[in-house]
């Protein structure tokens, strides 16, 4: 009998151990996302004047539209994080000829995020002077944008994307100037772009992405998939309604000293060869493509390509150690090549915005595969896509 009682003494101890499996009540969601967005006309139907796919980032909704759209009477059909609320109501018909802003509040009420909605009825600009950039929403890195004169003043066009958002995850850059893609004061004229191949530090190695080439391209960067499938994260191209004939501009380049590939453990692996840059533009048919765009896997190989203009990257490559401040910008000019492409150019399709254009700059030609030389630097400025 007394043994029984005493054996009970051990029970509280056992209960303590069993408490490992006590799961607490679930807390309300802390996220405040717009997960999906469809642009509706005044009748509540998806507006047919939207060109291509709506780009949805962490804080922005960006769409391209034909000039026939009635911007003053549009509504949004959004899908939010479960439990989150949004104000003002996006289903209400609003005037989108100026930027509209929405605030999403998490289910927990603790977090809020502001989204800006830009519907761009202007064609892609074709002159890129890189005078305009700003820091992203967290203030960590540069983002380039263009502006076009509209009826209501300057319209911002967020056409440029880079891998900076991916680099940001590694914590390897402590100031905006440490990132691979930065705005610089010493452009060909005024401001310019500097792209530099950088080490991504210990966390980049873990992700088996030991370097990040500086890149800048027309399109969007899907940071959500940057670690899982880096090739798919670079979505090249936005809707374009003209026939481009020539890509021209200015650049200067020096290659980094040691070309590297990715070692089995994710670190850099020295390989033979020399790094070089890549500057090109692609016109392609967006129909039938995953996400409606080309990505790192197929931007130079897809059957949807109509024309390609690519700068000869064997010329004007300065050796490592060159001080590019003492090097003059080199002009480049290449024709869009429409010959021998699987998809022929069609005037009507072009006018109907069935085609996308991308312009791509990178400091390491094989940067998408994380092959490059740390310290390779490409400056570009005053770029233009000349059209018929």
């Amino acid at each position: 009998m007394s043994d029984m009682k005493r054996r009970m003494l051990l029970f509280p101890a056992l209960i303590g151990v069993l408490c490992f499996s006590c799961i607490q009540a679930e807390e309300p969601n802390a996220e405040a996302d717009i997960e999906e967005c469809v642009i509706l006309n005044a009748n509540g139907q998806p507006d047919q004047n939207i060109k291509g796919k709506v780009v949805l980032t962490n804080t922005r909704i960006m769409a391209q539209a034909t000039p026939y759209i009635d911007l003053t009477q549009l509504a949004l059909d959004v899908k939010l994080t479960p439990g989150a609320t949004i104000a003002p109501a996006p289903s209400k018909v609003l005037d989108y000829s100026t930027i509209q802003k929405f605030t999403v509040t998490s289910e927990s009420g603790e977090w809020q995020k502001e989204y800006t909605v830009t519907i761009d009825t202007f064609d892609l600009p074709t002159k890129y002077r890189f005078e305009q950039s700003e820091l992203n929403e967290s203030g960590k890195y540069f983002e380039f944008f263009e502006t076009t004169e509209g009826k209501e003043g300057l319209i911002r066009q967020n056409i440029w994307a880079s891998g900076n958002a991916g680099f940001s995850l590694t914590g390897a850059g402590s100031t905006p100037d440490d990132f691979p893609t930065v705005s610089v004061v010493n452009g060909k004229e005024g401001m310019g772009v500097r792209l530099e191949t950088k080490s991504t530090g210990p966390f980049g190695q873990i992700a088996k992405m030991p370097i990040a080439a500086g890149n800048l391209f027309i399109g969007s960067f899907d940071v959500a998939n940057a670690l899982n499938d880096a090739m798919k994260a670079t979505r090249f191209g936005l809707a374009f309604g003209k026939k481009p004939v020539e890509l021209k501009g200015y650049y200067k380049y020096k290659r980094g000293a040691q070309l590297t590939d990715v070692a089995a453990d994710g670190d850099t692996l020295h390989i033979a060869g020399e790094d070089t840059f890549d500057i090109y533009a692609v016109l392609y048919k967006s129909e039938g493509l995953e996400e409606g765009t080309l990505d790192g896997d197929n931007v130079l190989s897809s059957k949807n390509i109509i024309a390609l203009a690519r700068v000869d990257n064997t010329q004007h490559v300065n050796p490592p150690g060159t001080d590019l401040n003492n090097v003059e910008y080199t002009p480049f000019s290449v024709k869009f090549d429409y010959e021998d492409k699987a998809t022929p150019f069609n005037e009507e399709e072009a006018r109907a915005y069935k085609y996308n254009l991308t312009v791509v700059f990178t400091s390491s030609v094989r940067g998408a595969e994380f092959v490059g030389a740390i310290g390779s630097v490409l400056y570009v400025d005053e770029v233009e896509v000349v059209c018929e």
């Binding site: 007394s2 043994d3 005493r6 003494l9 051990l10 101890a13 056992l14 303590g16 151990v17 408490c19 490992f20 499996s21 006590c22 799961i23 607490q24 009540a25 679930e26 807390e27 969601n29 802390a30 996220e31 405040a32 996302d33 962490n58 998490s106 603790e110 977090w111 809020q112 995020k113 967290s138 958002a165 940001s168 995850l169 590694t170 914590g171 390897a172 080490s199 991504t200 530090g201 210990p202 966390f203 980049g204 190695q205 873990i206 992700a207 940071v223 959500a224 998939n225 940057a226 670690l227 899982n228």
Partner: protein, 257 residues
């Protein structure tokens, strides 16, 4: 593991040695109120935050593994009835487990340095986390022992542990990170491994409460709950936002000389 094997050998030889010798030495010790015990058993438990934080949504898997503990005790009985005494011991033990948990909105900071390069990752993780803990300790229990009956002893007191070999590693998989806070950029992650082994606290201490039941004259069954009172990681360790404690039940058989 090598330590453990050594101690088994040591204990075994000690037993033979003690048995083989004249019993007079033991009798003499007994006369002075000293008593010796050796024990061998297992640790079962976890290195865990308590209570489980709300961020942990589900335990998908828990494997205690085979965690061995070997101990030698010296007891000095204080009163003539031998009802109260003090116990000091030395225990070589491993504490470990493997867990697989589903977490939601779990805030974490990771810093890494390699040469002159640093990395920093901060944000809220939603997804799965696998943890593999394998720690070896040299532990000194210091306890008050009370004999409830000729067959029952209960014990209570602190223990001091020195981590001789530590592993705390695992992976975060099938989920996403929100950079900085729950509104930050969302990044999907298939799998990312971590290893915090070198961050583990070397000196740990806690409370050891136990009981021992004398089944036969020399053989006993025992159970001790060892509850860590300082966290497994030091205060300045921020990668795991909640404090993890070693809470293990140590049970097995004892030999009373």
């Amino acid at each position: 593991m090598k330590n453990v094997l050594l101690l088994i050998l040591l204990c075994a030889s000690l037993g033979v040695y003690a048995d083989g010798r004249e019993k007079t030495a033991l009798k003499k010790s007994y006369f002075y109120g000293l008593e010796y015990r050796i024990k061998g058993g297992f640790n079962f438990g976890g290195t865990s935050p308590l209570p489980l934080p709300a961020e942990i949504r589900k335990i998908e898997g828990f494997r205690p593994g085979l965690q061995i503990a070997i101990e030698g005790n010296v007891i000095k009985w204080i009163d003539t009835q031998k009802k109260w005494g003090t116990l000091i011991g030395i225990r070589l033990e491993s504490k470990g487990m493997k867990t697989d948990a589903k977490v939601k909105n779990y805030y974490m900071v990771m810093d890494a340095t390699e040469g002159d390069q640093t990395g920093h990752m901060e944000g809220n993780w939603t997804g799965y986390v696998k943890t593999d803990v394998k720690n070896s300790f040299l532990t000194i229990p210091i306890q008050v022992i009370h004999k409830l009956s000729p067959r029952w002893d209960i014990k209570f007191g602190p223990y001091l542990s020195y981590l001789t070999d530590g592993e705390f590693s695992g992976s975060a998989y099938d989920g996403y990170l929100r950079e900085g806070n729950p509104t930050g950029t969302k990044v999907n992650v298939t799998e990312a491994t971590y290893d915090f082994s070198s961050d583990l606290r070397k000196f740990q201490w806690g409370i050891d409460v136990g009981g021992e039941w004398r089944a036969y004259r020399h053989l006993s069954i025992y159970a001790d709950l060892t509850w860590g009172l300082n966290a497994a990681f030091p205060k300045d360790f921020k990668s795991i936002s909640f404090k993890m404690y070693n809470i293990y039940l140590n049970f097995g058989f004892g030999y009373v000389f």
